[in-house]
Each structure stands twice: as structure tokens, then as C-alpha cells.
């Protein structure tokens, strides 16, 4: 369906729902209660060995208008949040992140000796190769170079300039930002400067129950844990803003949603019971993982995608490919990422959720169900591609030629919090079971497989006095352990190494927050540490927040990483898609990997977001003026 038609249908739906609510407002008369809150903010970050990595200036206006209750309707209001940013890093540090970023690159070619390289475009040419006139050696980096050497693995050239400067590798509709959209992310065709805009109203039933409704562009938050998104998956997230380190409130991407709560209140058994229905009727949006050339590209996925899309569109040189050692020039339409299949707007592509929630004394709980689209991309191979040896176009087993898809998922989960009076500690638990998720899998000819996934977080909060530091105010200690179990995990030992799903079958990430307060809470230092157990990678963030007065707030901090960075995994160089040309030996089954390892492209799934950011230590300063 053409995008314009989708937009019209989606807009018509939003307008229709707005008209449906009109009677509510016709019954309400204007009250005096109008609120407007505004802040301007500068966030300036410096990255080790890079320099300026953020100079973001934000204007955010929040406004709300309440209306008098009328009849059975109460708490009627209209609220909006509008945000505009300008990130000057693309102008002030344009050699790293702007129009002058990147350079001419050399690609590793160990066939000529350890660490030897060739210029991009001068690799071993297939019969059907590429023309550097269509893909010149400029404005590029080598995939993964910020984190690791190629070290005998695969790598490719990745364009890094804004998409209006260099359109190579810009995937239509997905990670294709031009300079204006990089500088001011909210000024896009999804009107993100309207960050939130929604109507609220309560309809009071005669039995005392209340139907609370919020309709409009909004964030809907499920769950009880910090940092991790086990149940909090209704809105996609913009990781390009500051990786995983910003408050989720600032990086959730609001969607047009109808949220209705049937608030039953207290019953004979429960202190509070509530049933919530969510209908996300907005056109689908994925997480923003960051486009290669931006300062924040979580797990460097955006660079992998851009490099692969450029490879598909233009061809290019791939390090150490032929024979596992020779830099090889592929032609266009042979390997890479062809396109992103973003779900179009249709009723069947909208997303629905249900939550039953209650309080039973010291115990709070929720049961959650959500049918939604994965906000993380899944790359599926087995698309029509050209054989570089014969020129034939067809389906080739385990060929590293992909489309990006966003499969529909079903999530069932729940959460609990419990206050243990005996040890004065609050415990929080959140768990989910998701079906339909897809993972890269080098054992499969499609190079992916589905798996059910169980995720959970167990958290504990306790206030502890440390008298020699502060005998008046306790410190908050908040610890969490996040676990992920891929239930249909597949791995095998092959001739040259392990193959299968690169993600860990079981993994845990632990976080610890210690926060203290002085000067009437106006000075608040904190330590936040996160450790990825399997990746053996740790992130530590030390920060101090100083509320100068009601208007000014200053936050300064340092964010550094420890432990292991890049990790190697089967890179499918030995998948033998174009047998017999790519067979390692006569009996080598087509589409069957031998498990040759490299950092790229799949090692990132073992390193995780912390391991992949090992070279992104930063000093971060933020000044906010509110009025």
C-alpha cells in the first residue's frame, strides 16, 4: 500500500476517534485551569578519543488544559508536549559526525599477509563485480573499526555521512536521515515535534467504578523495573539519543494509542483492581537504533545495516572473504541488505494489549498480554540475489542477502511488587514470555529462526543509612538482575567453530544504583553500574545532579566501560551459498556453514550494548532551565 494512502487511513481513524469524543467536550465548560511548563536544555558530551559527541539543545513545552466536570464525566483535560532539538555536533564536529565524516578506506586482505590491506575497490574481483564509479572510496569507515581491528574476519566499507550528502546505505524509510533530521530529529514526516497530544476523561459509573480513557499520541508504560524493558514494550525507543542511558521518558517514541482503564477500585478482596485495554492504532514504528554516522548507534547495528545496504545497492569490497582470506569485490544485488519491510498501516497491523492489575495489601501485581510488532529488526535471508560467479539470479541457501522484517509477537507476562516489612525492603518482579521473536541463526538456510523467549527482572530497593557519609538522609540502594532465556536456542560445533544463534542462550545483566542526597536533595550524586554477565562487560556511570534553584538544574557525569568488547562468532563466510564455487571441499553441503569466526557481523549479539560501547567513554554535562 502506498505510504500516502496509509497515512490518510491512519489520520482518518485518529480524526474519527476525535469526533467520537466531541460530546465529552461539548458537555464540559472551560475552567481557568491551564498549565504551561517549558524548559530549554543543553547537553554537551565529550567522547574519549573522539571529542565532541553531543551538543544537543532542546526546547520542550508541556501544556495542559483542564475542563470542568459535567454529568458523569470528570477529569477532562487536553495535554500536549512539544519538543524541538538542535544537535550542533553535526556542525561542530563534522569530521566525525557530519558532512565531512569518513575517509577513503582500506580493507583487510590477510591473503597478502597478516594485517595486509587493499584499497576499497581493489579486492579480488568476482566475474560479476562492482564499479567504484558507483561506489567511490570516500566518506566511509570500516565496519567495526571504532571497536576492533578486522583481525582476519569480514568487514566492509560503511558510508557515514548524512543521507542527503551520501545516500549510500540509507535504507528507504528506515535509517535514512538527512542532515536536517540528524540535527533536529523531531522535524520529520512523523511530526515528532508533537511529542505527546492526548485527551483524558473519566466516565463515572453508578456503581462507583470509573472508566478512565486517554486517547492520543502518548507513552504507555507497563512494568515495575528500571532500565530494562520486559513489559514496557508498547512504545518503541529512540536509542540514537543517548544509547541506553537516558530516562526512558525522554526516549520512548510516543504513538497514537487509545488507553482505557476500567477502574473497579476496592473490592471485598483487593484494595484496588483495574483492567486496562490498549489499542495502538498508529502506523508501525521500530526502535531507532541510530544511523551510522550518528554518535550513538546501539550495538553498532546501524553501521552493519548501512554497510550491508550499500553493498546490496552498489556492491563493494569485503575483507578476508574468498577462501576466508582474500578481500573480495562483490557486485550489486549479490549480498547485503535489500530493503526494510516496514509494516504498512492496516487494521490488522495495529497492536492491542490487555492488563489486569491489582493491589492486595503488601502485594501489587499485574497480568499483561500484548500482541504487537517487534520493534527490533529481524534479518531474513533467502531473497532473490545474483550469483557472483554465474550472474544467475535466484534463491541461494544461506546467502548473506537479507530483507529486514519486523515480525508480529505475542507477549504474555506479569509483574509483582512486594513490601517485606521484616527487612524493610521492596521487591519487584517482572516476567514475560514472548513468542514469534526471530534471531540470526547460521545453521538455517534462511539464516534466522524463531524462538520463544523468557525475560525477567528481579529488583530490590532498600534505604540504608551510612552515618559517616550522611547521618540525616539514607542512601537508596536499588539492585536488579535481568535474565533472558532463548528457549529454542540452536548451536552446533562445526569444523571451524561454533555456529547457530549468536545470542547467548541464557544471559543475565545486573544493575546497581546507589544514590545519596545532600543540601535538601538539591545535590544528589549517584553511581549506576550495569554488568553483562556473559559479555563480561560493565558500564559505570557516575553523576551529580545539582538543582541550583527552581529553574536551573545542572547534571555532570562520566560514563565509562570495563571488560570485554568485541566478540567473535560464525560469520557465514563458509556457508557455501553458491556451490560449487563457494564450497570449501567437495562434500561441503550447500548452505551449511563450517563456522569460520570473525568479529563482524554477529559477534555484536554476544557483546551486547555494553560490550559494543567499550570505546564510548564519555563526559556528559547537561544544563536545564525550566520556566
Amino acid at each position: 500500500m502506498p505510504k500516502n494512502t496509509q497515512n490518510i487511513k491512519c489520520t482518518m481513524l485518529k480524526v474519527a476517534l476525535g469526533f467520537a469524543l466531541l460530546p465529552v467536550f461539548q458537555q464540559s465548560s472551560f475552567a481557568e485551569d491551564v498549565r504551561v511548563n517549558t524548559y530549554i536544555e543543553n547537553a554537551t558530551f565529550f567522547r574519549k578519543d573522539v571529542g565532541l559527541s553531543k551538543f544537543r539543545n532542546t526546547l520542550q513545552i508541556e501544556a495542559a488544559k483542564s475542563f470542568k466536570s459535567s454529568g458523569s464525566f470528570s477529569n477532562v483535560s487536553l495535554s500536549g508536549t512539544f519538543r524541538l532539538t538542535y544537535d550542533g555536533v553535526y556542525d561542530l564536529n563534522d569530521e566525525d559526525f557530519g558532512e565531512k565524516a569518513g575517509r577513503a578506506i582500506s580493507i583487510e586482505n590477510v591473503a597478502a599477509g597478516p594485517g595486509a590491506t587493499v584499497l576499497f575497490g581493489e579486492g579480488l574481483a568476482f566475474p560479476f563485480t562492482f564499479d567504484t564509479a558507483n561506489n567511490p572510496n570516500e566518506g566511509m569507515i570500516v565496519l567495526g573499526e571504532n571497536l576492533h581491528a578486522t583481525d582476519g574476519g569480514v568487514a566492509m566499507g560503511v558510508p557515514v555521512r548524512p543521507c542527503d550528502t551520501d545516500s549510500r546505505g540509507c535504507i528507504n524509510g528506515y535509517l535514512d536521515k538527512d542532515m536536517q533530521e540528524l540535527r533536529s530529529q523531531e522535524l520529520n514526516d512523523r511530526l515528532d515535534f508533537i511529542r505527546e497530544l492526548y485527551f483524558d476523561f473519566d466516565y463515572n459509573l453508578d456503581n462507583g467504578s470509573i472508566i478512565s480513557t486517554r486517547l492520543g499520541k502518548q507513552q504507555v508504560i507497563w512494568g515495575r523495573t528500571d532500565l530494562f524493558r520486559v513489559l514496557d514494550v508498547i512504545n518503541p525507543v529512540d536509542y540514537s539519543r543517548n544509547n541506553i542511558y537516558d530516562e526512558l521518558e525522554d526516549i520512548r517514541i510516543p504513538m497514537w494509542i487509545l488507553k482505557t482503564d476500567f477502574r473497579m477500585g476496592a473490592t471485598e478482596t483487593f484494595d484496588d483492581v483495574n483492567l486496562q485495554l490498549i489499542w495502538n492504532f498508529d502506523r508501525y514504528r521500530p526502535n531507532d537504533l541510530g544511523q551510522c554516522g550518528q554518535p550513538n548507534v546501539i550495538i553498532d547495528a546501524g553501521c552493519f545495516f548501512r554497510g550491508m545496504n550499500s553493498l546490496w545497492d552498489n556492491g563493494g569490497t569485503v575483507a578476508n572473504f574468498a577462501g576466508g582470506v582474500a578481500a573480495t569485490d562483490f557486485g550489486p544485488g549479490q549480498i547485503g541488505i535489500r530493503q526494510a519491510n516496514l509494516p504498512s498501516w492496516s487494521l490488522s497491523n495495529t497492536q492491542v494489549g490487555l492488563k489486569f492489575e491489582g493491589v492486595l495489601g503488601d502485594l501489587g501485581f499485574s497480568l499483561n498480554a500484548l500482541s504487537y510488532r517487534s520493534q527490533m529488526p529481524s534479518i531474513r535471508a533467502n531473497i532473490q540475489a545474483q550469483n557472483a560467479f554465474t550472474g544467475e539470479v535466484g534463491l541461494w541457501p544461506a546467502l548473506i542477502a537479507f530483507d529486514i522484517n519486523f515480525p508480529r509477537l505475542t507477549m504474555l507476562g506479569g509483574s509483582m511488587d512486594y513490601y517485606s516489612q521484616g527487612i524493610d525492603t521492596v521487591f519487584r518482579v517482572e516476567a514475560s514470555h514472548t513468542s514469534g521473536e526471530e534471531f540470526g541463526n547460521t545453521l538455517r538456510e534462511d539464516l534466522y529462526s524463531e524462538s520463544d523467549v523468557v525475560r525477567y527482572v528481579l529488583g530490590a530497593d532498600k534505604s540504608i543509612f551510612i552515618p559517616f557519609l550522611n547521618d540525616k538522609t539514607a542512601f537508596l540502594f536499588s539492585g536488579q538482575i535481568f535474565g533472558q532465556h532463548i528457549l529454542d536456542h540452536e548451536r552446533e560445533e562445526r569444523l571451524l567453530g561454533t555456529a547457530g544463534i549468536p545470542d547467548w542462550e541464557e544471559n543475565w545483566t545486573a544493575t546497581l544504583l546507589i544514590k545519596g542526597w545532600w543540601m535538601n536533595n538539591r545535590l544528589s550524586p549517584q553511581i549506576l553500574a550495569a554488568h553483562d554477565v556473559r559479555a563480561s562487560a560493565t558500564a559505570v556511570s557516575l553523576s551529580v545532579e545539582w538543582i541550583v534553584n527552581d529553574n536551573f538544574k545542572f547534571t555532570g557525569g562520566v560514563n565509562f566501560k570495563l571488560g570485554t568488547g568485541a566478540r567473535k562468532f560464525d560469520d557465514c563466510r563458509t556457508c557455501n551459498p553458491w556451490s560449487p564455487f563457494t564450497a570449501a571441499f567437495p562434500e561441503h553441503t550447500p548452505g551449511s556453514t563450517l563456522g569460520l569466526q570473525g568479529f563482524e557481523p554477529l559477534g555484536r549479539f554476544q557483546s551486547g550494548p555494553i560490550g559494543m560501547a567499550q570505546k564510548e567513554d564519555e563526559l556528559q554535562f547537561t544544563l536545564r532551565y525550566s520556566f
Binding site: 478512565s212 515495575r224 521518558e249 482503564d261 477500585g265 473490592t267 524493610d424 547521618d471 538522609t473 542526597w517
Partner: protein, 442 residues
């Protein structure tokens, strides 16, 4: 004290003598109730040299040392503030609360442990005069406070301004604007339903809901406290943080932290906002002291902080650092009660409460740190409801109208300016649910 005793009118002295010769149980219920709720019915107390309209400042404060609590005495002595003396007036609580007290008289008994009570349904549980011979007299006074008619069955402070002030420079560091709402689930005597809101599955006694309106960095923070009727059970508390947009259950230990950076703990609200069983209570004395009771409409008010279509203005502050309310003080009958925390890790070693005998509000409290050094001093100014908002007239609620919590160690204070409204429409029971926090949050 000699001066005080000599100054009290003969009829009052005679009443005490009579009381001392009789056991409480021998008094007729009506007489006990009358004495408890109308202590100034026969006459009002006086003190040598004290007169309406006079100002007590550092030049004459020594003369009145016996009727001023030690913290406030030091403030006046240092010239930080002065006291304007008003008439002692009777602030009669709502008749339905008094009737409930009569109905429940002598039916209420303490259990074996501190915090255990039985037989109470509504009203003042222990209206009889405390006795130094009663080892649990302090605990009974604490129950009288807890089951008092503090804000009636429900009320709202709507809005409520807190200012964080540097006492040395007088700089206002922060101004927080709140709405506070109070609801009694049990012991209700006036607003329907009485005596209890049902269903009440967790057998709650009371709930407090707080919403922060400004400034921006804490706007939309909400706090909900559920207090069980069983005093041995800890509160359940939830906090909605605007920047997280979700509800967090609080460990109740956090009630001793500075609330939103103010000089108050959650436990300090209203004078004392914890469990009876969290403290060891000791009745020290019955005294006649100057207490912050006044008629709101007769004060010179703050014209800047708040304005609305009602024309209502909040109490003004002045004195050192702007930490002292511009109010008048009355000589009133007071019970001095010392509360020391059971938990050794509590940041306080004790609070000394000065409970108003007629209303059982706690207009003055002095808190001491773990080392036993004076740390904070809390003043809650009380207005007669008949001289406040028209809607409060006849409510029989002693209106909390201004507070000042001074950290004498840090030379810092938090002041509070109220628009207290006894209006059940502002405080529906549905407001006191966890889901309300989510529904209201944005």
C-alpha cells in the same frame, strides 16, 4: 511554674484539685468529655504579665520562659522572631466527633503491646486526663492524636506551598506547590458513609494522597500512603515519579528521609505520621503554653504567593530567614509527650510533642538527632475554621494553616502555606488508589 500556677484562675485550680482527689473512673462520662473537649469552658488560663496584643521579643522573653517551648524560646532570645499574643479561644471540634467520644467512653482499652488497642470505633479514645501514675499515659495521648479529628473525615490542602529557605541569607531555594488530600476510612463521624468506608479489604484506617504541581523537575510526583487500622502493620506507600511515569512501591523506611528535599520527613507530616508502635511514648506533663492558634481572617496575609477567584490568601512569613509565620499565639492547655524511636537506626533520638489538649493537634514539636542534640523544630499554625474559608465554617476542624520546620543545625527551614478545605468533593475515595496515581500521571 510557680508563676503559672498562681496565674491560673482559681476555678481551674479548683478543678485540678478535685481531679487529683478523684479517680478518673469515678468521673461521670459527660464530665470527662466536657473537660476534654471544652477545657476553657469555665475560664481561660492566664500568665503573669501576659496580655492580648503584647509582643514577646528578646527584650522580654525571659519573663515568659515557662510558657514558651525551649526551641522557640531560643529563637526569640536570638532575635529571630517574636510572638504576638492573642486571646485564648475555644476551638470546638465537630459535635459528631464529641458524640462519638461519649459513645465510646470507657470502652477502649490498650492491648499488651504498644500499638495494640481494642474497643475503638470512633471519637477520642482516651478522653480522661493523663496521669503521671499511668505508665501508658503517653501512649494513650498518642492514640488520641492518631484517632483525632485532625482533618475531619476528609479534607484537602488545595493548594499547599512549601518553600525551602536558607535561614541565614533568607534566600528561597525552592518553592514546591502541592495538593494534599486526607481520607479516614474508619472512625468517620460526619461525612457519609459512617463509621467506615467499605469495602475495606486491608482494613485501612486512613490514607494520604499528595500530588506535586510545581516546579517542573518534581511536577507530577505523587505519593499515596495507606495506613492500616492495625498499628503493628507498617504503612503501604507508593510513589509516582513523573520522570519515570510509573508507580514505585516504597520501603516504608523511606518515611524518615527528607521528603522531596524538604526539612520534613514523611513521618513528620501533621506532627507525627508514623505508627504508635514505632515509638516509646512518655507523658511528661500537662502545661499551659503559648501555642500557634489564631483566626486566619484576622491576620495580615501573604499577597504574593497565592491568588485565586475566592480571594483567599495564605499566611505570610517573616523573621530570620523568613522562617516564622506571621500569626498570633494563645496560652493553651498542652500535653508534653516524648516519643523515642524503637528502631535504633532511626535518624532521631526523640521528638518532644506539645499536643493541644482541646484539639489533639500537635502544633509544636522539637526533634533531637541521634546524639541527642536539638535538630529540628516544627510549628503548625492552627486556625479556627469559623474564621477561615466560608466553606470551612462549622466544620469543627482545627485548620492546619501554616507550618515551619526549622533545621537548627543547618540553619535551614521549610515553610508551608495552606489553603485547607474541608470539602468531601475534593477528596473522593477513588483518589486513594494506586490506579489513581497512574491515571493522573503524565
Amino acid at each position: 511554674m510557680k508563676k503559672l500556677i498562681s496565674g491560673i484562675k482559681l476555678s481551674i485550680a479548683a478543678t485540678f484539685v478535685t481531679s487529683a482527689l478523684m479517680t478518673t473512673s469515678a468521673l461521670a462520662a459527660d464530665e470527662v468529655i466536657q473537660q476534654s473537649f471544652f477545657p476553657y469552658a469555665q475560664s481561660t488560663p492566664s500568665f503573669e504579665g501576659l496580655a492580648k496584643g503584647m509582643v514577646i521579643d528578646k527584650s522580654n522573653v525571659a519573663q515568659f520562659k515557662d510558657v514558651i517551648d525551649p526551641a522557640f524560646y531560643v529563637f526569640i532570645e536570638k532575635g529571630f522572631t517574636s510572638i504576638v499574643v492573642g486571646d485564648t479561644t475555644s476551638l470546638a471540634l465537630h459535635q459528631s466527633y464529641i458524640d462519638a467520644s461519649t459513645k465510646g467512653y470507657s470502652k477502649v482499652t490498650l492491648g499488651e503491646k504498644v500499638g495494640e488497642i481494642s474497643g475503638w470505633e470512633a471519637g477520642r479514645p482516651f478522653p480522661a486526663e493523663p496521669s503521671n501514675d499511668d505508665p501508658r499515659a503517653g501512649e494513650k495521648l498518642a492514640w488520641n492524636y492518631k484517632y483525632g479529628y485532625n482533618w475531619g473525615d476528609s479534607a484537602a490542602i488545595y493548594p499547599f506551598y512549601w518553600k525551602y529557605r536558607d535561614m541565614d541569607s533568607a534566600k528561597v531555594e525552592r518553592t514546591i506547590k502541592f495538593n494534599f488530600h486526607f481520607l479516614n476510612f474508619k472512625g468517620r463521624v460526619n461525612q457519609q458513609p459512617t463509621p467506615e468506608i467499605t469495602p475495606n479489604p486491608s482494613d485501612l484506617f486512613r490514607s494520604i494522597y499528595v500530588q506535586v504541581l510545581a516546579p517542573d523537575d518534581v511536577r507530577n510526583t505523587q505519593l499515596l500512603i495507606h495506613r492500616a487500622a492495625d498499628d503493628l502493620k507498617r504503612d503501604n506507600s507508593w510513589l509516582y515519579l513523573g520522570f519515570q511515569r510509573r508507580v514505585r512501591r516504597l520501603a516504608t523506611g523511606q518515611v524518615t528521609d527528607a521528603f522531596l528535599g524538604s526539612d520534613l520527613m514523611i513521618e513528620d507530616f501533621e506532627g507525627y505520621n508514623g505508627r504508635i508502635s514505632d515509638m516509646n511514648w512518655e507523658y511528661k506533663a500537662t502545661r499551659y503554653m503559648l501555642m500557634p492558634f489564631f483566626n486566619h481572617n484576622e491576620l495580615t496575609l501573604d499577597t504574593e504567593t497565592h491568588s485565586d477567584s475566592d480571594g483567599y490568601q495564605v499566611v505570610a512569613f517573616s523573621g530570620q530567614g523568613g522562617c516564622f509565620p506571621n500569626i498570633t499565639w494563645q496560652l493553651r492547655k498542652v500535653y508534653e509527650v516524648e516519643a523515642s524511636p524503637v528502631n535504633d537506626s532511626h535518624p532521631l533520638s526523640k521528638r518532644v510533642h506539645f499536643m493541644d489538649a482541646q484539639t489533639f493537634t500537635i502544633p509544636r514539636t522539637i526533634s533531637y538527632d541521634r546524639k541527642g542534640t536539638m535538630w529540628k523544630t516544627f510549628t503548625i499554625g492552627q486556625s479556627d475554621p469559623d474564621h477561615h474559608l466560608p466553606a470551612n465554617k462549622g466544620s469543627g476542624v482545627s485548620i492546619d494553616d501554616a507550618f515551619s520546620m526549622i533545621d537548627v543545625q543547618a540553619n535551614h527551614c521549610t515553610t508551608g502555606q495552606f489553603k485547607g478545605q474541608v470539602d468531601p468533593e475534593l477528596t473522593p475515595p477513588s483518589m486513594f488508589s494506586v490506579q489513581h496515581l497512574r491515571a493522573t500521571g503524565s
